[in-house]
Structure formats: structure tokens, C-alpha cells
């Protein structure tokens, strides 16, 4: 499923911690390793404080990791800065959650979606109108929208503008930061469909960050579940509902209200609170809330062990299930 030739971005052991005082550290991301492949979608799912936003910011180069590296087609790009960093932005673009805040309030649509091209001198001023039309067509919006302002449009239309802008530079990777969370359910479907059509056409690698596991598992080739800055499980979207192994993933699945759930049973919920990211315990981050917690869980932090092809779980229960050695 994942050819090594298709590997575009490889994030290796990324850690981001902030020092709040001499002895207190906030570790937003702890040893996170994830890959982005051509024409494949990586879904990153988790609740607040799980570190998905921090990971995303490091992946797009908005923040430098405290340790770890990012490889782009094999080249280490972690330490890039200045003009080199700016030029590398051509390859990885982002779409934002809130379509109301994602655009300059005084720019017209055509200026917004052509701005990336002007930044890299890829088109001349005279070509702006036709290029804008081309991009609007790609996101299934009428050409007349080029002269309008985003605040005159609906949420779904604005999100399409966001997609158009992200496509302008023909990047290899597009990161979607909760792009459907602010939209109505029926609009979510159309946006996701549009995104996937574009992925197939342009062979784009998509990183889809969301808290909505039910939505993401519908189309992500790979889903990474994060908890308190750690990746606790990686598996394909198709298998999430049947093969999820990590206790946290299972808890997430149990908490989802689903149209096909058994309505006679009470919904399962963990009665404990998510601990503060300042107080991540030694050993497994999930130990305080896990029903399968063992002694080893408090002492040693589990690594991501591959229990089946393309299925990794960070849980001591599965340590012995490794079907091949860690690379």
C-alpha cells in the first residue's frame, strides 16, 4: 500500500517542548514519527491537548522542533530558515479551520487565490484573471466569484476558496486543519468529495487533522491516533471500526454517537478527565484511565509495535505480538 518511492515527507522522532520555568516543561509532542505518501491521506485524530496542532505546525515549518528531523524526499529540511525556508513552502500548503478568518478581509477572491503564484513569480499581473478562473473551476465554483469578497459567501464556498488557494502552487502535500469542523453535515460531504477528487487528479498527499474520527475513517488510508503528545496507534481508516487495538482508540470509538449504534445500550464513557499536558506521567501516557493498566505501563513507555502489516500500536499488551522487528 505504501511504496517507499511515494514517500514525500518523513517526520522522525519529532519532539516539541516548551520550558515554562526551571523544572516545568510542557511537552506538546513527544517522539512523533509520521509519514506522508503521494496520493495517500494521513488522518491525524485526537482530542484537545493531544499535540496534533503542534505536530502540524512543525510539519509545515511554522515551528522548529526541539528535537527530531523532517525529511523531504530524503533531504533534511528541519533547519531551513530565511529565504531557503520560504522557497520550500511551495511544496506544502495548508487549509484552515475557520473560513471566516482564513482570508485577508480586504482582498478579492482572485487576489487571494493568485497570491501564492505572485509570491513565487509564477504568473504576471495580466494573467491573474484567467488563472483565478481556472482555479475556481477546479473547486467547482463559477468564474464570477473571482470578483467577490469571501465574506459574501457561505462557509462551504469559502472553504472551496481555501482549497483553491492551497492548490495554486501545485504542492505535493496539503495539510487540512479541521477544515470540516465549522461546516454543516451535508456540506462536509461535498468538501471531502472535492478534496479526494483533486487528490486523485493531482496525486497529492493529504494530511487531515480532525477530532471527528467517524468522518476521517471514511477516507483516510492511514489514521494516527494521538493522545497527550504521543501517537498511540496507526492503522488504516477501513480497519478502525473493527481492528482498533489501543484502549484509547477503543474508548474514542465507544464515545462516538453513531447512527448504527445499539441504542438500547448506554454509551460508554470514561469517567476520568484528560490529565493536563503539564502532568504527563512516566510510562504510558494513558495509564491513569486505562482499564488494562499493568505495572509495566507505569514504569516503561510503550513504543509503537507493528502487530499486523500497517498496523502499529503503542501498548504493552501487544508487545509480544510483534510480527517483525522494529526497523
Amino acid at each position: 500500500m505504501f511504496e517507499p518511492d511515494d514517500l514525500i515527507i518523513e517526520a522522525r522522532h519529532l519532539t516539541k517542548s516548551y520550558q515554562l520555568s526551571r523544572y516545568r516543561f510542557l511537552t506538546a509532542c513527544d517522539d512523533v514519527s509520521l509519514n506522508f505518501y503521494k496520493n495517500r491521506t494521513l488522518g491525524i485524530v485526537g482530542e484537545s491537548g493531544c499535540g496534533k496542532s503542534t505536530f502540524m505546525r512543525m510539519a509545515v515549518g511554522l515551528e522548529k522542533p526541539t528535537s527530531g528531523e523532517i525529511l523531504f524526499h530524503g533531504k533534511n529540511i528541519t533547519e531551513r530558515k530565511g529565504e531557503e525556508l520560504r522557497l520550500s513552502r511551495r511544496h506544502i500548503q495548508m487549509i484552515f479551520q475557520d473560513p471566516g478568518e482564513a482570508f485577508h478581509p480586504r482582498m478579492k477572491v482572485k487576489e487571494i487565490i493568485c497570491e501564492p503564484l505572485f509570491n513565487f513569480n509564477q504568473i504576471k499581473k495580466s494573467e491573474m484573471a484567467s488563472k483565478a478562473r481556472e482555479l475556481l473551476e477546479m473547486v467547482e465554483l463559477p468564474g464570477s466569484f473571482a470578483e467577490r469578497y469571501p465574506h459574501d459567501m457561505s462557509g462551504g464556498q469559502r472553504q472551496r476558496i481555501g482549497i483553491a488557494r492551497a492548490l495554486a502552487l501545485e504542492p505535493e502535500v496539503i495539510i487540512c486543519d479541521e477544515i470540516t469542523s465549522a461546516l454543516d453535515v451535508s456540506v462536509q460531504q461535498t468538501i471531502v468529495q472535492l478534496l479526494l477528487d483533486l487528490q486523485k487528479r493531482k496525486q497529492i498527499s493529504i494530511g487531515f487533522i480532525s477530532h471527528d474520527l467517524a468522518l476521517v475513517q471514511q477516507f483516510a488510508h492511514q489514521i494516527a491516533v494521538m493522545y497527550l503528545g504521543n501517537v498511540v496507534e496507526i492503522l488504516s481508516g477501513k480497519e478502525v471500526s473493527t481492528k482498533a487495538a489501543h484502549p484509547y482508540t477503543q474508548a474514542l470509538l465507544d464515545s462516538i454517537f453513531d447512527l448504527h449504534m445499539d441504542f438500547s445500550k448506554e454509551i460508554v464513557s470514561m469517567d476520568s478527565e484528560i490529565p493536563s499536558p503539564l502532568n504527563v506521567p512516566e510510562g504510558c501516557p494513558f495509564q491513569n484511565r486505562c482499564i488494562h493498566c499493568m505495572d509495566v505501563c507505569r514504569a516503561e513507555k510503550p513504543e509503537l509495535w507493528e502487530t499486523e502489516p500497517d498496523h502499529l500500536v503503542a501498548c504493552h499488551q501487544f508487545k509480544h505480538f510483534k510480527y517483525r522487528e522494529d526497523k
Binding site: R86, L87, R89, F96, Q97, R106
Partner: protein
């Protein structure tokens, strides 16, 4: 035709603003057309006619050197307006630039600029201006420099807070991620979003700035004789308050009216543009 109709409609909706606009234009007109309006040479001193009360020839009377007060007051409009405009423009651009750099780049740049601004603010404005003017030597230009040195902090702090308000918004991030250069972001994003408020603030400050220049000139640190400047004229007329009160009255009235007009103009401008939301 449509444009004229639009302007007339605007004026009808904002009567206060229109009135003050017209008054301000009258003042500016007085400055521009001073040679036409004034019936005497403001520098021409005829000692024999010194300290004469207002009459048909000298509408405002004459000052201690026999110069026509009316002409001096009218020419004073030029002095006041040009120096105030110069002052406001320099303060606006210098202060805003520093504030924008402090807000956008943060870190050491921010700390240095803001600490310097804190130092400047801790001095009483006029006193510091007097000190600077005293050191540089009394002249209108030096008075302008002194007031700039004291007033830039207001614009710097305002600009900085405006930048901080928008710095972390999604569209700013998007600008960086789509490969915008820093200069481009500063011009098209930061400046475009902050300039309107800053310019309105500057416009409302015109009146106050004129008053500051008049104050410095009154104390002898600004305009020097024989340049006609109201503050200085007030100072010259002080000794003659009992015997020739018109020497203080008319320049004082001029200051009062012009500063009031510009202050009120600025207030009504702000009312129109308020709420300043994007």
C-alpha cells in the same frame, strides 16, 4: 453626476462632519490665500504706528513694532498649519514604523523599542520638549523635532497593539505559508490593516499638535521673531495686556478657533469611522 450626488448624500447624512470640514477648509483657505486676504505686509514695521487699536486701516490694530496685526494673524495660519502638518506626518510615520517593527518582529526589537518608549513616556511631554528645544536652539524646526521626540510613543504603542491583534490570525499564517516575503506582508497586510486607524488618530491630533507648537513658541523655544506665529505673538503681547489688549486677544482667538475646528473635525471623523471593525 453620480459622484456629486453621492457626495451630497454623504454630506446630508453627516452634517456635523460636513460643517467642520467646511470650517477647516476656510482655515486652510486663509493660509493658502494669505497674500490676497491680508491687506498689509506682516513684516513691515512702522514704529510710529505702534500699539494702535483696531481701526478701518488696521482691522486688528498694530503690535509693538507697528506691524499690522490682522495680516500677521492671517499669515500665522500658514505657519501653524505647515508646522503642525509636518509634525503630525513625521510623528505618524516614525511612530507607526517603530511600533509595527516592534509588534511584528517581537523579541529583542520589541523590547528595545518599547523600553525606549517607556522612558520617553515617563517624562512630562512639554517639559521634555522644552529641554530638547533648549539644547537644539530655539527655532520652529527644532520645536517640531522636540515635539516629535515626545509624541512618537503614542503612535508606536497604538501601532504595536494593532499588529499584535492580527499577528496570529489564520490569514497572516496563510500569507507566510503561501510564500509571501516579509516586506510584502508588512506592506499589504500589516500596513493595510493598521493604517486607517493610525491616520484617523493623526487627523484628530492636528489640533493638539498646533497647540503644542503655540505653547513652545509662547515660551520662546519655537518660532522666533519676526516670523508671525500665534504663540509667539501671544508672548509678545503679554507685556501690553493692560494697554493694548488686542495684541493678545486676536492671536489668542485665532488659536482657539483653529484648534477647536480641527479637534472637532477629528472627533466627527472618528465618529463616522467608528466602530472601526474589519
Amino acid at each position: 453626476m453620480r459622484d456629486i450626488q453621492k457626495i451630497l448624500a454623504f454630506c446630508k447624512n453627516h452634517k456635523q462632519f460636513t460643517v467642520f470640514c467646511i470650517l477647516a477648509l476656510v482655515v486652510i483657505g486663509a493660509a493658502v490665500f494669505a497674500p490676497v486676504i491680508a491687506n498689509h505686509n506682516p513684516y513691515e514695521a512702522v514704529i510710529a504706528k505702534a500699539e494702535q487699536p483696531p481701526d478701518a486701516n488696521h482691522w486688528f490694530g498694530t503690535d509693538k513694532l507697528g506691524r499690522d496685526l490682522f495680516s500677521r494673524v492671517i499669515y500665522g495660519t500658514r505657519t501653524s498649519l505647515t508646522s503642525a502638518l509636518l509634525l503630525v506626518v513625521i510623528t505618524l510615520f516614525a511612530g507607526s514604523a517603530l511600533g509595527i517593527f516592534a509588534g511584528y518582529f517581537g523579541g529583542v526589537t520589541d523590547s528595545v523599542i518599547m523600553r525606549i518608549s517607556d522612558v520617553m513616556i515617563s517624562f512630562p511631554g512639554l517639559v521634555l520638549a522644552i529641554a530638547i528645544a533648549g539644547i537644539l536652539g530655539p527655532s520652529l524646526l527644532n520645536a517640531v523635532i522636540a515635539i516629535v521626540a515626545v509624541s512618537w510613543t503614542k503612535y508606536a504603542r497604538l501601532a504595536r497593539s494593532l499588529v499584535l491583534r492580527i499577528k496570529h490570525k489564520d490569514y497572516m499564517l496563510a500569507a507566510v505559508l503561501t510564500g509571501s516575503k516579509t516586506g510584502y506582508i508588512l506592506r499589504n497586510y500589516i500596513c493595510k490593516m493598521t493604517m486607517p486607524i493610525l491616520i484617523v488618530t493623526a487627523a484628530t491630533d492636528m489640533g493638539t499638535m498646533m497647540l503644542e507648537i503655540a505653547a513652545l513658541s509662547f515660551l520662546g523655544f519655537g518660532a522666533q521673531p519676526p516670523v508671525p506665529e500665534w504663540g509667539m505673538m501671544l508672548s509678545e503681547g503679554r507685556a501690553y495686556l493692560q494697554t493694548a489688549p488686542w495684541m493678545m486677544f486676536f492671536p489668542g482667538l485665532a488659536v482657539f478657533i483653529v484648534v477647536a475646528v480641527f479637534n472637532l473635525l477629528g472627533d466627527s471623523l472618528r465618529d463616522i469611522l467608528d466602530p472601526l471593525s474589519d
